[in-house]
Amino acid sequence: MFGDFIPLFIMIALATGLALTLLKAAEIIGPKRPNRIKRTPYESGMDPIGSARERYSVKFYLVAMIFIVFDVEVVFMYPWAVSFHDFIEGGAAFGVMVVVTIFTVILLIGLVYDIKKGGLDFEQ
């Protein structure tokens, strides 16, 4: 059973190794001619002024909260997607589809409410 996941672990190891190798190779092989302008946080950009720990608009937090809600929605949908072939074989595909559609529509109401209230509108 664990043997099924060995390709997954190999892929994670390869991806991490490739990223680290490229970063380290760029550091070793690449030419380094630093100067004061190049080492500023935003090269050729605005000079950083003051602390980064300012108060942000509450809209950013709203986006984060809505992300959490839809993340939990994905948690509910994941077992449905995995077992959908079993539902088709068992002849219950239509009923399960209705259940999931109601589930999604209830959550869509929240999204529509949010958009109508201007919760995702950053312009105003």
Binding site: F2, G3, F9, F60, F76, Y78, V82
Partner: protein, 168 residues
């Protein structure tokens, strides 16, 4: 199957190192990043124990949603990095490490005394899989899923209500 114990100890070591890194980091954002590494390693540990669904949920919910909440709180409270410690009391660190070693020895002796198995259980593969959960969730407990949807709807509406600029 020699790969399974190897992966277990590798992931366990990395997760302990990440947990210590989370505690030692002086900046709260670095702590959060260490915690992400720790959560990913714990998800890998679940995979080595055949708990596939819990492993995926660990990444989706903990590394996704809970970490967003943590970063949210860090930004909301304007937490600054703690000042660097002047000196570390190595005597206390050595005492802590020795204490952990003695505790693990004691636990090992107790576990072997009760004849507890040291390797992962095989039976959980059937009951804890995503397929069996989906079949139970969308047939027998379909109403409960809809009630959960209403709860999530309430969370969405509540977030929008709280974040409104003015109350007419």
């Amino acid at each position: 199957m020699a790969a399974a114990p190897f992966m277990f100890f590798l992931l366990a070591t990395v997760s302990v190192v990440a947990a210590i890194g989370m505690l030692v980091a002086r900046s709260p954002v670095y702590s959060a990043l260490w915690l992400v590494l720790n959560l990913f390693c714990v998800a890998g540990l679940y995979l080595t124990m055949n708990a596939t669904f819990i492993g995926v949920i660990q990444i989706l919910v903990y590394a996704g949603a809970i970490m967003v909440l943590f970063l949210f709180v860090i930004m909301l409270l304007n937490l600054d990095a703690l000042p660097q410690l002047e000196e570390i009391d190595w005597g206390m660190v050595a005492g802590f490490v020795l204490g952990v070693v003695v505790l693990s020895q004691l636990l090992y002796v107790i576990a072997s005394g009760f004849d507890l198995p040291m390797e992962a259980m095989g039976a959980s593969a059937e009951t804890g899989s995503a397929e069996s959960l989906g079949i139970a969730l969308y047939t027998r407990y379909a109403l409960h899923v809809e009630v959960a949807a209403v709860l999530l709807l309430a969370a969405t509406v509540g977030a929008v209500m709280l974040a409104q600029k003015r109350f007419e």
